[in-house]
């Protein structure tokens, strides 16, 4: 009987401890708030493009991905891939881009990057020069005088319009016109009629608070 009492003395506190813990745990009520955030994206993209050059370089020799129709469906791209047969030293094309900040936060558009497929080691013979115009708030670039975009011919490039120095800050919905002259050196010794693929990739980042 004495042993039973001792065991009882031990067991009762042992049972009471979890009971008290249970009681304490249930003497707390909660409400909650659950937040889910998705962080902004930099959404400056190429919304439209042009490739202009002399007719002798242009006759079905140049292909661009995405095509104008594909780009329309995609709603924009950050990379343009251009392929061409290069017939002679001094070959050149002008690539025009309409860059649009479709996102909310302002962005800085910097110099694009170029990736050459270079099976014959010819990339070093190419030069590229960039010309920046804008930013334009709406569609003023289309009616700019002198021409910046609409109606411009290859021989009028680069546009005789005040240039902007990169990086260019684009607020929400603002647009930037970028003309790139890509050229094969006149000193290039050959061989010719090689195929060139080049990817032009947009560089943009979130703009700091002014």
């Amino acid at each position: 009987m004495a042993n039973g009492k001792i065991i009882t003395l031990l067991i009762i506190p042992l049972l009471l401890i979890p009971t008290i813990s249970y009681v304490y745990a249930h003497w707390t009520d909660t409400v909650f708030k659950q937040y889910k955030f998705r962080f902004f994206c930099v959404e400056s993209e190429i919304k439209s493009y042009k490739v202009l050059t002399e007719r002798k370089y242009n006759d079905d020799k140049i292909t661009v991905y995405p095509t104008a129709e594909e780009l329309e469906e995609m709603g924009g791209t950050s990379t343009l891939q251009i392929s061409s047969i290069i017939p002679e030293p001094g070959w050149y094309i002008w690539i025009g881009l309409v860059i649009h900040n479709q996102g909310i936060p302002p962005v800085l558009v910097d110099e694009p990057t170029f990736e050459f497929s270079d099976p014959n080691g010819v990339a070093d013979w190419f030069t590229h020069t960039e010309y920046y115009y804008g930013p334009f708030n709406k569609g003023e670039f289309a009616t700019a005088d002198p021409y910046v975009w609409d109606g411009i011919k290859y021989y009028e490039l680069p546009p005789d319009y005040p240039q902007t120095t990169p990086p260019v800050r684009l607020e929400h919905c603002e647009k930037l016109i970028l003309w790139i002259k890509l050229e094969l050196s006149a000193e290039y010794p050959g061989p010719m009629d090689f195929s060139l693929q080049i990817a032009i990739k947009l560089t943009s980042a979130l703009a700091p608070t002014p």
């Binding site: 009492k5 009762i12 003497w27 009520d29 409400v31 708030k33 937040y35 955030f37 996102g103």
Partner: protein, 199 residues
């Protein structure tokens, strides 16, 4: 229910062992904390109308009340903001009620912040400082005694049954948020506790 049942069991056990000495059986009725969200208001936000459809609340910013099906009380709010951008702000005010009942008790209120860990698939406690360091989110809050937020709740304040109190929450994505956050999603949970303040 469980507590009286356990106590009866313990008492019966004790009675059986100490039958000659113990003749008193104690019953216990537990007190009850019962808080609920009775109202919420957006005091300020600069959430933009991204898709220009004229709707922000219910589109770029959604707030869904979570209802306890057993009693119809609002026990939570699910808030989604998509997207948030540097400089984005949301200031939300909750009205919370310590519901009276025959067993209502005085309570102390507190809160804990959690962040959902995608790797471990668990809620993990996070400090305001880490929220700032990891996600560039400034979290400022406070309990108040009035809806206009003019009377901060003193520390160790005891909320009585049938009393309302208010929680202000101010969240801001800092202007210097790094571009590496772009496209990421995070989930934060704020649990507000009402604990029995004791006898």
């Amino acid at each position: 229910m469980l507590v009286p049942m356990l106590l009866i069991t313990i008492s019966a056990f004790a009675y059986a062992q100490w039958s000659t000495q113990l003749t008193c059986l104690t019953t216990l009725t537990t007190a009850q904390e019962d808080i609920e969200i009775t109202n919420w208001t957006i005091n300020y936000t600069n959430t933009p109308d991204i898709n220009s459809n004229g709707v922000i609340l219910g589109d770029e910013l959604t707030i869904i009340e979570v209802i306890d099906p057993t009693n119809g009380q609002i026990i939570g709010l699910d808030i989604t903001a998509d997207p948030v951008f540097p400089g984005w702000v949301l200031h939300l005010i909750l009205e919370i009620y310590n519901r009276p009942s025959p067993y209502s008790v005085n309570v102390n209120v507190s809160y804990t912040l959690y962040c959902w860990n995608e790797t471990t698939q668990q809620w993990e406690q996070i400090t305001e400082e880490n929220l700032q360091n990891l996600f560039s989110i400034t979290y400022l809050d406070g309990f108040y005694l009035d809806p206009d937020l003019t009377q901060p709740m003193p520390s160790n304040y005891i909320v009585s049954p049938d009393q309302y109190f208010y929680k202000s929450e101010y969240l801001k994505l800092n202007e210097d948020a790094p571009p590496t956050l772009q496209g990421q999603s995070i989930e934060i949970k704020v649990e507000i506790y009402a604990e029995w303040a004791g006898v």
